[in-house]
Symmetry: C2
Subunit: 206 residues, 2 copies
DNA sequence: CAATACTGGATAGTTAGACTATCCATGTCA
DNA sequence: TGACATGGATAGTCTAACTATCCAGTATTG
């Protein structure tokens, strides 16, 4: 198919498709002449993936490019997560001390040596944010949250496909990013459900 | 204190403080003359909160304004969550059908009538995103994720302070937003921990 | 085979969001 | 008194993500 049809299939203006081509998010079509190209189903799928990443998953174009690159050139299983997380985690100021984050991680019985610095930075920022908002989480609460997320994470790690490096990379990298909005939506729905139970039934729709 | 000192306490340029004043995020200082004003500790705290919201919590200025307004003018406990979630959830296209989201919620044994439309929209988008990425979550996996988030949510709902409407509003609204980055960070750390366990020990730092 | 429409690629322009800089008529204080 | 700071208004900057225009080169149609 040609570009206008590709754009139509993906529900995007051709100008946007051209933009994604320029930005290297979408692979080139097969040139049939110096000024004409053909696109196929892989382009349609890629566009859908791009939209999912920059839409619900909230990734930037630059981050999406890194994610797609990591999938296309799969790293070894050993540092898959590191690369996935680094591709996705914004840079934190290197001077941000992560003492408290480390302390929390160790307190949970996890080994902070296994944790990427950028992820520890993210935890530190989250803790700082809560503090700025006047929240203090008890250790027990933090532990409950952490074990809840461990349930999710253990599940995900267990389900990493082992048949091919490509499949594993795709699973880990996309799973990292695409499951985030799912979890946040589930949390809110759970809050609404729990709230309805606590305030026994009648709540106005908000 | 005066503006330059306020800005210094918060670690921000005065131009930014002025901007937040203009945008209505920061309450006015007490005028001591037509062109001079005094600020106090509440302004410093407010600035810290604003930075936490627009920083780690990733909220926009407009969303931050809604959040602060909801805290300042606390709604009843009954529709607190609805307002908190609406203040925070981006608008979803109204025509987006949420059939599947409803079905998932009901399948979890929750009552979709207790769920805000915007939150169902968020769930639907998350599910669509996963599908676009070629993921299919089994019902069991979805259930495990949902119950993990219910652990978190039930905890939060149970801890809503009951002494004052202000305290409750602050807890719910800020908790909704500020805990999100915490959960995402914990999930990644849990993944790294689980991964290290699965691949028995030696993983390069990423 | 000429007229027309469309294509891919390059380049420039737009929009929105979040600041940032400049001005200026007061205040303040050494 | 006079240098400097302040609050408020206004305009400018910067980045990200598109969007519009242009143009030479096909494809297509009568």
């Amino acid at each position: 198919m040609r570009m206008s049809q590709l754009a139509q299939e993906a529900g995007l203006p051709t100008a946007t498709v051209k933009y994604y081509l320029r930005e290297g998010l979408l692979h080139e079509g097969r040139l049939t002449s110096p000024t004409q190209a053909h696109y196929d189903e892989t382009h349609v799928e890629r566009l859908r993936l791009i939209r999912a990443l920059v839409g619900p998953a909230g990734q930037s174009i630059a981050s999406t490019r890194r994610i797609l690159a990591a999938i296309a050139d799969p790293p070894s299983e050993l540092d898959l997560l590191g690369i996935a997380h680094d591709a996705v985690t914004p840079r934190y100021p290197a001077e941000l001390p992560t003492d408290r984050a480390r302390q929390v991680v160790e307190g949970l019985g996890w080994n902070s040596a296994h944790c990427a610095p950028s992820t520890l930075g993210a935890l530190q920022e989250a803790l700082d944010g809560l503090e700025a908002g006047g929240f203090e989480l008890s250790d027990e609460t933090l532990e409950r949250y952490a074990s809840a997320m461990m349930v999710v994470a253990a599940d995900e790690i267990a389900e990493i496909p082992t048949d091919s490096a490509e499949a594993a990379a795709r699973f880990v990298i996309l799973g990292t990013v695409l499951v985030e909005p799912l979890l946040l939506a589930l949390r809110r729905l759970a809050q609404q459900t729990a709230s309805a139970q606590r305030f026994s039934g009648s709540r106005q729709s908000g």
